[in-house]
């Protein structure tokens, strides 16, 4: 067989997307199911992003079991399902700005900074222009971040495979978990607690002994906790409870629940684009760098992007122009570019190291796990002479990102601007419906009432974590990575002949472990305020 090079794999990836099973033909041109699914995903993403109280996580949680029911558990299902999830991820970053600008209600947490300038612009009769600025900034930064992902992820993966053996990989997992625990949320201690609980939960009912550990002799626990129940319970159901409670308090305080009102429009000119480009480029760079580090998330990127843009604006703005926080288009551009550029770069750790950096990446892993045939991680990027189907899927995934971006550039803006009406759906009606839909989707995926009970129980835990200001993300990532951490450590321990200090013997592993201790120590010394 002839050697397969990088170019061959890129072409095979593109071919897998465009020449896969056909959905229908348009003017004689076959449209593949994957392209169709990316489009549907993007539309759903924009819709859930634009609906206050929903977001990409809920969109992915509800659609995943449906997708698996439709496409089944075979290799052909991978690209359509993963493409759909990528579409949701990209669409929601654009859609989140709609309620933030029109009604001062951020659709997603990272769109909060968008309200600071977006809403004043809307009040000044420039709502449509603000939406166009937000869309342009968001999509251009996302495109930049995807290019960085496509270029960097394979190189990083090859480096990891070349230089890291089992002890180093174990140490890298510990470093990643410590890093996520230390930097996410307002407190290193609470991050560590969240991560520890996630690890403990994933170890219930698993292990290598005949007796399923920590199962207390019960059948419900002896099969382990379903990953979807834990992830969706903590992230989605916990958030629904917290949001419902806000509405309950609002209803008790004022006797009514506020619904926002609509306002004006304007066009985006080339001069406006020139004006905001410096802000977009700075924020895109900031967001991409932050996104490449697992767990930090788009909220911090938006905050730093906004703060950096604010300093630049203070130097450059003409007298009489609105400042940041008073309706400056540059404020929207700086925020939206920063939070959108995180989404592509966030996939760098998952594709190159197999370590999910955000919730969207967790869902990609869940989907890949459920369907089988693709294990995101460094092993994917093996350019072997024998065809490596996982590498074809990886390049197919990059292709779906480019498709999603192209759609976002072309039709995303118009769709986004037409969705202001969604904010009128009363949240107190929408959220209980979403809760039942989430529980039903859990059942459909697991076909066991115990999964529904687990999901509900983890939702209550997620609610309490919110009330104690404990970020749920380290829990979820601990849960997702816990099994791999144990398996790698077992193999490394055996491979080193039962050396109890296997994590400190190689210099690279020792540096990772020291790094893990250092990152927790320094985060502990320097308390932070924001909780994403």
């Amino acid at each position: 067989m002839t050697d397969l090079g990088v170019r061959d794999y890129i072409l095979l990836g593109i071919q897998a997307v465009f020449a896969g099973p056909e959905a229908f033909s348009l003017l004689g041109l076959p449209i593949s199911i994957t392209v169709l699914m990316v489009t549907f995903g993007l539309i759903l993403g924009i819709v859930v992003g634009a609906t206050p109280g929903l977001g990409s996580v809920i969109g992915m949680a509800i659609s995943l079991p449906i997708l698996i029911s439709v496409f089944g558990f075979n290799a052909d299902a991978l690209l359509p399902v993963l493409g759909f999830l990528i579409g949701v991820m990209k669409g929601s970053t654009v859609g989140g700005a709609v309620p933030a600008i029109l009604f001062n209600t951020p659709g997603t947490p990272d769109a909060f900074m968008t309200t600071l300038d977006g809403y004043p612009m809307a009040q000044a009769g420039k709502a449509r222009k603000a939406l166009k600025i937000s869309h342009f900034s968001s999509v251009s930064a996302d495109t930049f971040s995807d290019i960085v992902l496509i270029v960097c992820a394979p190189f990083l993966a090859i480096l990891v495979e070349a230089y890291l053996d089992l002890p180093e990989k174990t140490a890298l997992l510990i470093l990643s978990l410590s890093f996520i625990a230390a930097v996410v949320g307002g407190s290193a201690a609470k991050g560590l607690l969240s991560c520890g609980l996630g690890l403990l939960a994933v170890y219930i009912g698993t292990g290598e002994d005949f007796y399923p550990r920590l199962s207390m002799g019960t059948t419900a626990l002896s099969d382990g906790i379903p990953i979807t129940a834990a992830v969706i319970g903590i992230l989605v159901i916990g958030a629904i409870f917290a949001e419902l409670e806000e509405l309950w308090h609002q209803s008790r305080r004022t006797g009514r629940i506020d619904v926002a009102k609509d306002v004006g429009d304007q066009r985006l000119h080339w001069s406006d684009i020139r004006q905001i480009l410096p802000y977009i480029s700075r924020s895109a760079l900031i967001g991409t760098v932050i996104g490449a580090l697992p767990g930090i998330g788009s909220t911090l990127a938006a905050t730093i992007g906004y703060a950096t843009g604010k300093r630049l604006h203070a130097r450059r703005k003409a007298p009489g122009d609105p400042g940041f926080g008073e309706g400056a288009p540059e404020g929207i551009a700086a925020t939206e570019a920063a939070n959108s550029s995180v989404s592509g770069a966030n996939l760098i750790p998952v594709l190159s190291l197999g370590i999910p950096g955000n919730t969207a990446a967790v869902f990609l892993i869940l989907a890949a796990d459920s369907i089988g045939g693709f294990n995101p991680g460094p092993a994917v990027f093996k350019f072997s002479t024998e065809l490596n189907p996982e590498l074809v899927i990886a390049f197919g995934l990059f292709t779906t990102m480019i498709i999603a971006n192209t759609l976002n550039w072309t039709v995303g803006g118009a769709l986004m601007r037409s969705l202001g009406v969604l904010v009128r759906i009363p949240k107190q009606h929408l959220l209980p419906v979403v809760l039942l839909l989430t529980l039903a989707s859990l059942y459909v995926q697991e076909t066991a009432m115990s999964a529904v009970w687990f999901g509900f129980g983890f939702g209550i835990l997620g609610y309490f974590m919110k009330r104690f200001e404990i970020s749920p993300l380290p829990f979820v990532i601990g849960f997702v990575l816990g099994g791999r951490l144990e398996a790698t450590a077992r193999q490394a321990f055996s491979a080193t002949g039962g050396d109890p200090f296997f994590l400190l013997k190689s210099p690279i592993a020792a540096i990772f472990i020291l790094g893990a201790v250092a990152v927790v120590y320094f985060s502990f010394r320097k308390p932070k305020a924001a909780t994403p």
Partner: protein, 181 residues
Amino acid sequence: MRKLSAGTALGLGCIAFALGVAFVWIPLDTGSWLVERSRGRYVVGDSLAPMLAAAFVLIAGVMLLFERRADSNRPSRDNLIFIGTMTGFGIVSLLLMRWVGPVAAAILAGGEEYRLLRDTVPWKYTGFVVGGGSLIFAMIAFVEERPSWRALWIALGAVAAIIILYDLPFDDVLLPPNGDV
């Protein structure tokens, strides 16, 4: 007596929980120790990974005792009332979802077993409609502080929409609780 701060209380709770896990739960409920000798070689036992998780919680607890934070949130009485009510609604609704179908079948289907009827109309929808509908209705009524016809219609409409979304298009998909009764 001085009141414990939220951070300190949470820290002490974490330490107690971690010690309980490490010294009671793991030793009593795991088949092997931290490290075992198998066929002349040392291998990692099933206790090691949960012990690492307990260590994370323990370290977090100790750090919480010393962390320099001006203020730390804790659930208020209102929070507990809210989540207690939601938990109650959840438990009752899920029990209804699970048992209304079998009970209705036992009374109305002439002694036919529910398991045999679980993929036939109307039996397959009874538990989901009653349990799911009551969950949505109760939650809306609680948040709005009054039951309303609107809440009831929303609940029934949503349940119907979920049935249309999951049950009608797919032959192999079963709504709760029909897959494992």
